[in-house]
């Protein structure tokens, strides 16, 4: 017994540095691949930092990145809270859009009457800039959370629903026939074939919507709001504080990147088999 535990302990101790070494190697490989991007990124901010002095640009026009960081730190609490406010609007609108648009897209794909009525209606609305509705919703519903959620919803809804219709309506003919020839019922054929086959195209819509979600929230806040990062950027710009405006912009970028990152992660988990997800060796 003692010998056995001694052996397994020794084995574990032996394998730990190996695991660490493998992880380091992976990291090194990643760095080796992405260093041009990192170098460009660092170079961009260094250029920004030093060109302000070189060209003598006043801070009330364009601040240095270092000034943006140090000065906005004073406003940290407000920035964090406003990030939460805008983030909440974005996430609620986005999730509502996914929850409603996917089943609706499915229904439209399989119902010929819906395909001849709602579908062309949606396609024509897709041409309308949804953000044009923002003043109306704010005049109807006030300055609160709800009109912003609705505007984010509108911005996200159409790309998701249109891609879902495409996704569920475009099963390859051969697969369609294969499924029919097995005599499988609608639920079984949906779960086993139609749903997984539709996922990649659905994610095209999810990702497109994720990119645009923060745009909806920001512009809705520009139009009528008393909190949130869009509101903040407008106020501090009016006060000649571009440093704080940039802080707001960076946080919005972070918000957008986080949402997109989460959706991309979900995609990787949901469709690891898809050509877009295959690891390049």
């Amino acid at each position: 017994m003692a010998t056995a535990s001694f052996e397994s302990g020794a084995a574990a101790a032996d394998s730990r540095p190996k695991v660490l070494k493998a992880a380091l190697q992976r990291l090194a490989k990643k760095l080796a691949r992405s260093w041009p991007f990192i170098a460009f990124f660092v170079g961009f901010f260094l250029f920004w930092e030093y060109s302000i002095d070189w060209f003598g640009i006043p801070a009330y026009i364009l601040p240095k990145p270092s000034e943006i960081v140090t000065r906005s730190a004073a406003d940290f609490d407000r920035l964090v809270y406003y990030t939460y406010v805008t983030g909440l609007e974005t996430v609620l609108g986005y999730v509502a859009a996914v929850v409603i648009a996917v089943p609706l897209g499915l229904a439209i794909a399989f119902s010929s009457i819906l395909r001849r009525t709602i579908y062309p209606f949606f396609v024509s609305i897709e041409m309308t800039p949804k953000i044009a509705f923002a003043p109306l919703f704010i005049s109807w519903l006030g300055f609160g959370l709800l009109p912003k959620v609705i505007i984010v919803f509108l911005v996200c809804f159409f790309p998701i629903v249109l891609n879902a219709i495409l996704a569920f309506g475009s099963l390859p003919e051969e697969l369609e026939r294969f499924v029919r020839a097995t005599g499988a019922g609608p639920l079984r054929s949906f779960m086993k074939v139609r749903l997984p086959a539709a996922m990649p195209q659905c994610f095209v819509g999810f990702k497109y919507a994720a990119i645009n979600a923060t745009v909806g929230a920001t512009i809705a806040e520009f139009i009528g709001s008393d909190q949130g990062l869009g509101f903040y950027i407008q106020i501090v710009t009016g006060n000649m504080r571009p440093d704080l405006a940039f802080a707001g912009i960076f946080l919005l970028t972070l918000l957008g990147l986080s949402l997109f990152g989460i959706v991309t992660l979900c995609e990787r988990l949901a469709i690891p088999w898809h050509i877009s997800q295959r690891r390049r060796h």
């Binding site: 051969e174 026939r177 054929s189 088999w273």
Partner: protein
């Protein structure tokens, strides 16, 4: 004994914007149980349409089809069917794809586990059972698709140019596999092809179909020994069949 598949005065027209296009027939055809019948004809002669009609996936405009002495009035679930583009799904492994056929039919997978292993071995895919389709070559994918189409032990197989998209060498290899599978269990097979040589090599009977609108012009029994290996393919009898059928298509103006 009745026919496994019987077509009586079957024809098919498609409605298009320019009016009805007559695609196939009228044609009669009787396939006996255990026969390997090829539908041989040029592109666009309606061979695939015949397969879809027998499978119950497409209704004939006129005429009647019977499979195993029962009229076809909807998708035929007791058959195995294969198309030019395989029906492997990218989110499942080779084994998973074969199991998909069973799952869609609500059959007990565990009862087929051994059979699947044997089939994978028979088509020389051992070691690839847990690979995704994209990791396989076109020929390997098509061999996996054979297993998918056959796993539920159908006694009728409809093969719509399953080798159509493969290169000549891969085709030859898979023909051998297909023949071995057929000789082992003797299912009834209807096989669509536009390769004369392929039809002679595989079939017990060839239906020669005219260019559009397709009609079954001649039915030729191929009386050559099984298995039709290289020896048989080099025989004068094989060459004679080839010559006769080439002559027929030359007469149609196909070449």
């Amino acid at each position: 004994m009745g026919s496994a598949i019987e077509l009586t005065q079957v024809s098919k027209s498609f409605d298009t914007v320019d009016g009805a296009v007559h695609a196939f027939g009228p044609a009669d055809l009787a396939v006996a149980p255990g026969e390997f019948v090829s539908l041989l004809g040029p592109s666009g002669c309606g061979k695939s349409t015949v397969i879809l009609m027998i499978a119950g996936l497409l209704a004939p405009t006129h005429g009647a089809i019977r499979v195993n002495d029962r009229p076809v009035a909807g998708p035929q679930t007791a058959i195995g069917i294969m198309f030019q583009d395989n029906t492997l799904v990218p989110w499942r492994t080779v084994r998973g794809n074969i199991e998909l056929q069973l799952e869609l039919r609500a059959l007990d997978k565990s009862r087929y586990a051994e059979r699947i292993t044997r089939m994978i071995k028979a088509v020389r895919l051992d070691g690839f059972a847990d690979r995704q389709p994209f990791e396989l070559s076109g020929g390997m994918q098509q061999r996996a698709a054979f297993c998918q189409a056959l796993v539920h032990e159908p006694d009728t197989l409809l093969l719509d140019e399953p080798l159509g998209k493969l290169d000549a060498m891969t085709r030859e290899g898979i023909r051998v596999d297909l023949q071995a599978l057929w000789l082992e269990r003797r299912p009834t097979v209807v096989f669509v092809t536009h390769s004369i040589e392929e039809a002679i090599q595989l079939s017990s009977k060839i239906c020669v179909i005219t260019p559009r609108p397709g009609r079954i012009d001649r039915v030729i029994d191929i009386d050559l020994p099984w298995p039709r290996n290289l020896e048989v393919k080099k025989s004068p009898a094989f060459a004679a069949y080839l010559g006769v059928i080439q002559e027929i298509f030359h007469g149609y103006g196909v070449f």
